[in-house]
Symmetry: C2
């Protein structure tokens, strides 16, 4: 039995894909990213597509396409083969790059984000080709290796390959299903803007007794800068931060309320997050705060003695890694500039503040009631058996705004990850039924999109 | 040539002592502390004293004494053989436990704090015994291995050995010389009270996009708690923090002003600290802020992603390691309780704040104009050639208050460390002339104290 036609069991295929530690933020893993791209090239070629590995200044991009039939519409399916770092390693039940199947889930870094989801599309195309010999649309796979670091080289790649990538729409599975693992179409994602602060004081670590009280402590200063980002109600205090925020339409607030109800309310979200209380900006429900409101988060903070016990040191420097999550129509560059100005104005004498801005991308929204939006909803409904919910996602796929700008088309987000998939955390996992349902969904989606021509 | 009578060159003796990585805060170094204590026992025995190693629940205490002559006064010399951790290792020119002599200095972790200083006393006693066959006073060496972690077992040891340790005064070299490496008697030291905050939020690290805005971020909370410790003028905001602070006498402010002038003013302190500006509590000079005012310092802060690049995580926890430096007559327990109450009151819903209090000890002051104070000043003057300055030290030796309480005697602090010795920092060092001068000073000191009977 060989249901996918490229070597057997879909789960064995997924396990092979998950064994690559393709961590894009850690330079020492560049060879693993290259090997993972080659593995994809082999799969895509084996199922009957014309595939190529394109080198970039960073990780390679894998492209694959069916023979172009001008009578058919063209669907570009985007995904990524890079993953987040697995740290903290102590949190994993089994090693992050040794996939483990248990209770209907496959556990590994990248299981849900994004290897399981993009592979479902590849296997769906494979099955259709095997069963029918041809596809109802022209297909292009665009699978990059730098999504987790903000796709620094993808924009240039898109511009350079603009004609080859011409399409009618983009389909992406890189988001989650709705509450209760119900099918969902995501119509909005937050943008992101990253910034690292390095607060430098003394030329070296000092004795906190001999110098404490005489010089500014960089750990104190970084804490004061971070603390200055919010008021006690969780509202961001950077001047102008909320100026461009697109207000929620009444139908969106109603949809968010329905969703919150379907999700089991705040209690269910508490349990999912593993917290004893929820928290955040006043005046908005939890679902609204996550999907429709911008935030300023500390992803990492550090400075001074990190070991066991006490070391009475006044550290020479301290850092904070920040990311802002943005909504339409905030401009990441404007937000980063406002944050920098605000933080610099507070930096005390004797302290050097070095600011490095990281990856950024604007928020994205598409219309779930367009023809292609309705086709996507139909594919989800038929594959998973329920009318898909309409979601705003708190995460970011910065490339969506770029795809719109360069290719001039909309992206539709058909998320396959289970809501408790623990992406970016230890014990990331994907429900096997979602993975297999994703294969079915791809086949129906291409059929429906083909009809819409 | 064998000037010290216990095997030759004093510098070779010091190098042997410095090779032990006797780091008391790191449990894996317990065997190195034991070996270092044995080395001391051998030295003290070799010079003609009766020595013993006393085990404690932590590192052993080394005791040694001359035959007790009831006609003579008894001087207890206190020191410690444990050292601070050497981290960050990258800051060291050569490995911290491989002593290196360069430009008249010996470099190693512990060179100044406290191995070079206590060994100078041992070698001074050795020379006197060799030259005169007897000492002008009864001598007791009390050398512990837990000073850098707050001497958790010394108080019980002192109580248990109270009779054996009966003495007329305590002499300690565990502080620094004055500006320009001029001789100095230290008459006040700050106390210390340590506290670690562990801020716990979600059960695991979360995706900062999928949950950011919905839950309190422990890294933000720890930053807000740390930021709440000071106002923008550097004054500590914990209610009652300054209530018990003993005000400076007019003569002390004058002495501090003289000292600041002798030190070359703030410019010299800036250079010593390696900062571009000084900073701290308004209304006090730099010298006053270091020696006579209490502080709240962050020794370490951490949480979330610590690696290269970006990881969009909302961390499950974050920590801060704090120490308060206290002055007479602040009570460490009262300060810790006030800090805990203040910080707990600010902890937002959804966050669990775990507070661990660490080592603590009250500030100490003695009288530089007492008979023994004047003897100590004479020994310093004759050994180093200048009238000793009178200093307040910003560091802490918590055991001084305990010695006073249990043995009922005053401690006199004859610091031998050069002011640029970099204790607790990479490239710690001691001027060889200070080490050798300390040997001379010990001989004169015992002579002068013998006369005072």
């Amino acid at each position: 039995m060989d249901p996918v036609g490229i070597g057997g069991d879909p789960l064995e295929e997924l396990k092979s894909f998950l064994r690559f530690p393709s961590i894009s933020t850690q330079p020492e893993h560049a060879p693993d990213l290259a090997s993972c791209a080659e593995w994809l090239w082999e799969k895509l070629t084996a199922i009957g597509l014309t595939a190529a590995i394109h080198s970039t200044p960073g990780s390679p991009v894998v492209l694959a396409s069916s023979p172009h039939d001008p009578a058919k519409r063209t669907v570009l399916i985007y995904g990524h083969y890079d993953v987040q770092p697995p740290e903290p390693l102590a949190g994993w039940t089994t090693p992050p790059f040794e996939p483990r199947i248990e209770n209907g889930r496959i556990h590994a870094r990248g299981a849900a984000d994004n290897k399981g989801q993009i592979l479902a599309h590849i296997l769906g195309v494979s099955e259709t080709l095997r069963e029918k010999g041809a596809l109802p649309v022209n297909i292009i796979f665009l699978i990059e290796g730098e999504e987790e670091i903000g796709s620094p080289n993808l924009e240039a790649f898109l511009r350079e390959h603009r004609e080859e990538l011409a399409c009618d729409l983009v389909a992406i599975s890189d988001t989650a299903m709705g509450p209760g693992n119900k099918a969902a179409l995501t119509y909005a994602l937050r943008g992101i803007a990253a910034m690292e602060l390095l607060v430098r004081g003394p030329a070296r670590d000092l004795h906190s007794g001999l110098f404490g009280g005489a010089v500014a402590n960089p750990a104190t200063v970084v804490a004061r800068l971070v603390a200055s980002l919010h008021d006690t109600d969780g509202r961001v205090l950077i001047p102008g931060f909320y100026d461009a925020v697109r207000p929620l339409e009444p139908w969106e607030r109603a949809a968010a309320a329905d969703l919150e109800k379907a999700a089991g309310g705040d209690d269910a979200i508490k349990e999912l997050a593993g917290v004893i209380e929820l928290s955040g900006e006043k005046g908005f429900t939890t679902i609204e705060r996550i999907g429709a409101r911008p935030t300023a988060e500390v992803n990492g903070i550090g400075g001074g003695y990190q070991g066991e016990g006490t070391k009475t040191v006044l550290p020479k420097e301290a850092f904070a890694k920040l990311t802002f999550r943005l909504v339409a129509d905030q401009n990441p560059a404007v937000i980063l500039a406002a944050a920098e100005e605000y933080l610099r104005a507070q930096t005390p004498p004797g302290i050097l503040l070095e600011i490095t801005t990281g990856h950024s991308g604007a928020a994205y929204q598409s219309d779930p009631n367009s023809t292609d939006g309705l086709a996507a909803r139909k594919a989800l409904k038929e594959a998973f058996g329920t009318e898909p919910l309409l979601l705003r996602d708190g995460g970011s796929i910065p490339i969506l705004a770029t795809l719109k700008e360069i290719l001039g088309v909309d992206s539709y987000l058909l998320g396959l990850a289970n809501p408790d998939c623990r992406i970016h955390s230890p014990n990331e996992n994907m429900l096997i039924e979602n993975f297999l349902g994703g294969i079915r969904m791809n086949k129906i989606l291409l059929e429906e999109l083909g009809k819409a021509s």
